[in-house]
Symmetry: C2
Subunit: 112 residues, 2 copies
Amino acid sequence: MNYSIKSRIWIESNGKVLLGHGRIELLKAIDQYGSLSKAAKALQLSYKKAWQLVDAVNKSAKQPVTINSIGGKNGGGMQLTDYGKNLIKIFETINENCWAFLDEQLKKIKTF
Amino acid sequence: MNYSIKSRIWIESNGKVLLGHGRIELLKAIDQYGSLSKAAKALQLSYKKAWQLVDAVNKSAKQPVTINSIGGKNGGGMQLTDYGKNLIKIFETINENCWAFLDEQLKKIKTF
DNA sequence: AATCGTTATGTTTTTACAAATATAACGATT
DNA sequence: AATCGTTATATTTGTAAAAACATAACGATT
């Protein structure tokens, strides 16, 4: 039995993607760096692509996920809201539970 | 709460994709029509793409998933082996269980 | 008002992938 | 041996997504 089972989950809001693996990684990097441009660089993502992703998340979410500031002493920055941090937590918990569930399902299959 | 949770699962064999949603749909269509070309047409898939998918499945699976015949009275055809039919059953069962599990997980979240 | 590093956005170029096209191989049937 | 509808495979073309490039807007600081 060299077969293994993998999965990707995502959360939708009104039929549109709210959060998937890539967006979660981006939000975590924003939280880490306090800057979208730095987060994009760390993930080897173009700034524009990263901005579009964050914009899409904020437009689909029920509450803002980031706080964006332009200009100022360090040019500005981007932080996560508490709501955003909570979304990450929920997503990752469900994702890990899903992995465990699938591994268990595979174990139940005797032969193939 | 208009959030919903979706998923895609796939089975890997030695680190390579064996079966995912698209391949399962294709195998089911082959089973239905007894022909790869007809199955491809039904799924609005180019014959070549369909053939490559089936070829990849057969190369990754531990046992052949299809029986292919070339030439003959009706030009040939493609059937599923019992092993192939069994793989479909297993995949779909686990997939449905996964959906139910994720819906349940989402219900557990009180507010967001 | 000049500078700085950031967010925000438009425009162009590249690239990866899908689709389309073409053709060979096959074997039962006639 | 000619035909037929299929599987098998190579080559070309098209297209949509990604990347690259460019520039505007912003506001605290100097």
